[in-house]
């Protein structure tokens, strides 16, 4: 572009007719991103190093070290929400990862990496293989139960939960069972059972307590017990240090309660948790905060940058972004339906239904309606919307 070319702009060009100036301004965005700069002083802070930053740069040579390192990386990915750690874990396991006869610990870690990347079929294949090698492996059972539950395959998930009973302590089995049965029309019973077991258990490890409290909060939310859910979230948040998944589910809870200022505050306290950006952008829009446009723009740029990698998969968060921020209902519906093919949690159902209503094509949500009916899925947020779609729906 010749307009505003650094070395040829001379002051006399101020006379350019307004139309040309306008043309140049219109062409400016084509010039790409913000310009590189030299920070004003040495003390300018450019980035923060996460608490769990990786320090070792050389890949481990022996299997034992590699497995320990990869497990720590996967835990870091879970806590921070930063998928870089999954990349670190894969690199640590690289020498063994693609081997057909990979050792059991590698297969299990590989399955978890697939699970985090939402490659559920690959994860399930690995877990099936692991359970052939070691049918009593509790970790393989638990991971498989979690995936099957997310996929809405409740019967298979319940079977895996049941077979945990003799392998792990009762509270873990109860947590697994409650999560599954609460989705199948037995939410209140599941809640009571898990609560009773939690009260009886002594000396729970903090992360395990957080896990149980989140299950209780999730069930409470789905049956409309808002204040109970809030109490469980409080427990979960204080059980351990900040954790990406806890923060994001709590932010979603606050959004549903229209407690927008708390969402914004949460993001201000934990700016490094990228999952909170979408929630903060939605909340700022709702209260017309000054930085609402800026947050949306950051989100937009992040999605655009991710798409340039060539491995972008539409998620339910992306569908929410399209629907609630971009106002692109039909693109949101496509994304939500794509996501629904692999993931069938109530939140995944919710975004399909909302996008279908927004596009004026309630029939597009038919797969979700069928699923909810067949499974007896319980969720107070979902049912009113479904009746919207099918006024004649019988219960």
């Amino acid at each position: 572009m010749t307009c505003f070319n650094s070395s040829t702009v001379s002051p006399g060009r101020h006379l350019l007719p307004a139309a040309l100036a306008f043309l140049c301004i219109a062409l400016l965005p084509m010039r790409g991103q913000a310009a590189p700069y030299r920070p004003a002083s040495d003390s300018v802070v450019l980035a923060t190093v996460p608490a769990r930053a990786r320090t070792s740069t050389t890949g481990p040579r022996d299997l034992q070290t590699a497995v320990v390192q990869a497990s720590a990386d996967i835990e870091s990915a879970r806590t921070s929400g930063d998928p870089r750690y999954l990349g670190y874990a894969q690199a640590a396991l690289a020498p063994w990862r693609n081997a057909k006869d990979a050792p059991l610990p590698v297969i299990l870690l590989r399955a978890q990496i697939h699970q985090h990347n939402h490659s559920f079929e690959a994860a399930l294949a690995d877990l099936d293989h692991a359970l052939v090698l070691d049918p009593r492996n509790p970790q393989a059972r638990l991971t498989r139960a979690a995936i099957q539950q997310v996929q809405g395959n409740y019967t298979a998930a319940a079977a895996d939960c049941r077979s945990l009973a003799l392998l792990v302590e009762p509270l873990v089995t109860a947590d697994c069972m409650s999560r599954v049965s609460s989705h199948r029309g037995a939410a209140r019973g599941a809640y009571r059972k898990l609560l009773a077991m939690r009260d009886r258990a002594a000396g729970m490890e903090p992360r395990q307590r957080r896990e149980i409290e989140l299950t209780l909060a999730d069930i409470s939310m789905r049956i409309g017990e808002i204040e109970t859910a809030r109490l469980h979230f409080d427990q979960a948040l204080t059980a351990t240090d900040a954790d990406a998944y806890t923060l994001l589910t709590f932010a979603d809870f606050l959004l549903e309660q229209r407690e927008y200022r708390q969402v914004v505050e949460l993001f201000e306290r934990y700016p490094d948790y990228a999952d909170l950006l979408l929630r903060a952008a939605l909340a700022s829009r709702a209260i017309n905060a000054a930085n609402a446009g800026q947050l949306s723009q950051r989100l937009r740029e992040q999605y655009a940058a991710h798409q340039r990698r060539g491995d972008f998969v539409p998620s339910r968060d992306y569908a929410r972004f399209l629907l609630d921020i971009e106002g692109k209902a039909s693109a949101a519906l496509d994304a939500a339906l794509f996501n629904w093919k692999s993931q069938r949690e109530p939140a995944d159902a919710l975004i399909v239904v909302r996008a279908a209503i927004a596009t004026g094509q309630p029939a597009a949500a038919a797969p979700v309606v069928t699923f909810v009916r067949e499974q007896g899925l319980e969720d107070v947020r979902l049912l009113p919307l479904l009746s919207h779609i099918l006024p004649e729906r019988r219960t």
Partner: protein, 370 residues
């Protein structure tokens, strides 16, 4: 304790990652010797690789980055190889800057790639961070004058090959010609200079058009004028483009402004003096002005002559369009005494005044906000 660690695995199936995995962005633009480019690498990614946070306060400051520029450049350049025609090219990194992208701060390495034999095919081997992070991607884009090729390089696919026929000669020609047209149209100073010479065309000392001669005197004046201007600026444009002569941009811009003053004054006071000499003399200077623009456009590799010619053709076409638009109007207006007695002198003064203002601005480097 074994159970405790297991309990954590239950929830996570639904965890989404709003974070984007790690990417670096490498942009390369072809030059006569190879490429110039910019490589953006996240500071967040350099931390485990190079160890930027020296004082361990979990904050990466500009000071910590600035003092490690050599290590960063060595680390990065050790993981990038570019070859032309099968033989390796030399890559040098300039002074680093910082860019804030949507997912954090990146260091920006300016690159100059010099290839001994700068011929096709160009290949790029990338291995930055792959040993640490298997999901890292190198997003490489080659930006030709009118083509762009992009690659997402991964550990499995870590080589990019730039196809040789990035732009056909015809495409290159059209692109450069278009740039030439565009430049003369937005180059208001060139237009003003040309107009100041055109307006009195066909008039003589009497300021009376020779009505019996019809279009002939007008055409003759315009043709000599345009030819003189074209020949002159073609000479200097070529000399400057092949780097035989080079003048400071400020001197060029100021002289161009002065040329407008002269053309304006001639219109007012010395209409009988042939415009061709003025057009030729100052055309030389305008040619340097065009060359500055050409230098800013990244010329396609190995086709300098073609680009130069195409750009010049574009400038001529743009100029012809202006002449063809202006001539009928001038011819029509010249019949009226208003044109000769009022419009011409007023236009002359106005043009000269604008020229003076630009000269002052450009000469003194100040802005009068005209």
């Amino acid at each position: 304790m074994k159970f405790v660690a297991l309990a954590l695995l239950m929830l996570i199936g639904s965890q989404t990652y709003a974070h984007k995995p790690s990417d670096s962005y490498l942009q390369l633009t072809p030059t006569a010797e190879g490429f110039t480019g910019e490589w953006r690498i996240a500071l967040r990614d350099l931390e485990p690789a190079v160890g930027l946070d020296r004082d361990g306060d979990r904050k990466i400051t500009w000071g910590e980055v600035r003092t490690r520029h050599n290590e960063i450049a060595n680390y990065a350049l050790g993981r990038l190889a570019i070859a032309a025609g099968g033989s390796p090219c030399n890559i040098r990194a300039g002074a680093q800057l910082v860019d804030d992208l949507s997912d954090g701060a990146y260091t920006v390495l300016p690159l100059v790639v010099t290839c001994e034999r700068n011929v096709a095919p160009w290949s790029l081997d990338y291995s930055l961070l792959f040993d640490i992070d298997a999901t890292h991607r190198g997003l490489v884009s080659f930006r030709g004058p009118d083509t762009q090729q992009t690659f997402a390089l991964s550990p499995q696919n870590n080589r990019a090959v730039l196809s040789a026929d990035a732009a056909s000669p015809v495409q290159q020609f059209v692109t450069m010609a278009r740039e030439g047209v565009w430049h003369i149209w937005i180059g208001f100073d060139h237009i003003l200079f040309l107009l100041a010479l055109l307006l009195p065309a066909g008039l003589r000392a009497t300021r009376e058009p020779d009505t019996r001669a019809g279009w002939a005197p007008l055409w003759k004046d315009v043709l000599t004028l345009v030819t003189a201007f074209t020949v002159a600026h073609s000479i200097t444009l070529s000399l400057a483009a092949i780097k035989i002569v080079s003048l400071p941009p400020r001197l060029i811009e100021t002289t161009i402004a002065l040329s407008i003053v002269v053309a304006g004054l001639r219109m007012r006071y010395a209409i009988s003096q042939p415009a061709a000499w003025i057009a030729f003399g100052f055309g030389l200077i305008h040619g340097f002005g065009f060359a500055n623009v050409l230098a800013d456009l990244q010329l396609p590799t190995g086709s300098l002559a073609l680009s130069l010619f195409a750009f010049n053709v574009g400038v001529e076409l743009g100029q012809c369009a202006i002449v063809l638009l202006a001539l009928p109007l001038i011819r029509y207006a010249q019949r009226h005494s208003f044109y000769r007695r009022t419009f011409m002198p007023a236009a002359a003064v106005l043009i000269a005044a604008v020229g003076v203002a630009w000269s002052v601005e450009r000469g003194a480097g100040i802005s009068l906000s005209l």
